[in-house]
């Protein structure tokens, strides 16, 4: 739970901030049967984040969203985990979701065991000098995330030149598009915050 004196984080970071909701989260004590089921609250598992408690206001969507999210980011085959994270990071930067970018940049660095790519992306955005493959993936994610999408045939050609097959391109579209969704919840319904002690 974030403190009221927490400062809003405005710069890209891999150090995942707290999240302060702009609407009141569902109170677990007053939650409906359907909400408790969607939240998977059991007597032994009562820890639910403010973010998920906010989303519990729309319980029917929350119930389908979680398995869909996990499927797109983690299902076997197709695009690598790190490259799906790159799609998520691209969307989050276009939509300025500092929180989402932090979570997924830190995951990218963890998977790759390197902070090089996300350091470059946070410093230079669309102008970051990346490998041919990462550069095609990141550029596509940035353009698909615009409203309306600005991705065009030249971006698709770059993905293919970089060696992505149809299944990998589909996974990139899915992970990037998914963050068009996640960003519009996280960035719209709350603030990324940091308390004085770094928490």
């Amino acid at each position: 739970m974030s403190r009221p004196d927490a400062k809003v984080v405005t710069k890209w970071t891999r150090n995942v901030p707290g999240w302060r909701p702009r609407v009141t989260p569902v109170n677990l004590q007053e939650a409906s049967e359907a909400q408790l089921e969607a939240l998977q609250v059991t007597p032994s598992n009562t820890k639910v984040s403010d973010y998920v408690l906010v989303l519990a206001h729309d319980v029917e969507t929350l119930k389908v969203r979680s398995p869909l999210f996990n499927g797109i980011m983690y299902d076997a085959g197709g695009l690598s985990r790190a490259e799906r994270e790159l799609g998520a990071i691209g969307a989050s930067m276009v939509n300025h979701c500092i929180y989402c970018a932090a979570v997924h940049a830190s995951r990218h660095a963890q998977i790759e065991k390197s902070e090089e790519v996300t350091d470059k992306i946070f410093a230079a955005g669309a102008k970051a000098e990346l490998s041919l493959r990462d550069s095609a993936i990141f550029a596509f994610a940035l353009k698909l995330s615009k409203a309306p999408s600005e991705a065009g045939p030249e971006d698709m050609a770059a993905l293919k030149e970089a060696g992505l097959d149809e299944a990998e391109i589909l996974d990139l579209i899915l992970s990037t598009a998914l963050f068009g969704w996640a960003n519009r919840l996280m960035h719209v319904l709350g603030d990324p915050v940091r308390t004085g002690d770094g928490g």
Binding site: L55, G71, S149, L170, A177, V188
Partner: protein, 160 residues
Amino acid sequence: MSGFQDTTAFTMGGVAADSAIGAAVEGRAKIFEMTQAAEDAVLAPAEAGGLSHDLRAALAARIARLNGEADLAERYAGRIGGDAALADPANDGTAQDMGAVVAFMDKVAGRTAEVRAEDVETLKSAGIGDADIVRLAELNAFLAYQIRLIAGLRLMGETQ
């Protein structure tokens, strides 16, 4: 739950079932089916709160139009039972007493990066409750996803 070939994303994305793209989609059939379940949850939930199914369909058509997705907009507009005025992005919603909701939805859909705490406060001042604010955000957010999935699939087909 429908099969992946009956989903809005598959149909609107113009994917040919017997193509390499069709095969890639089949490999992610479960995800396409869950995407359709999510469409049902944001467009026509059993518990609609303060947002009627008609209003949801009108806002969905509006957001599709804002993104240049005319066919998808038509599809959602076809679900509006009553007044379709809000489906037109040129209408600011004032005449329907929906100005705050429309302004919020347009900004979240098209200028996401610029959304601030004040935008949520404006909705609250207009009498929109917390649960309905979350429902509006979920509707908008789902459409952002579905619209980009469709745009991406179409682009794959065009460049095959």
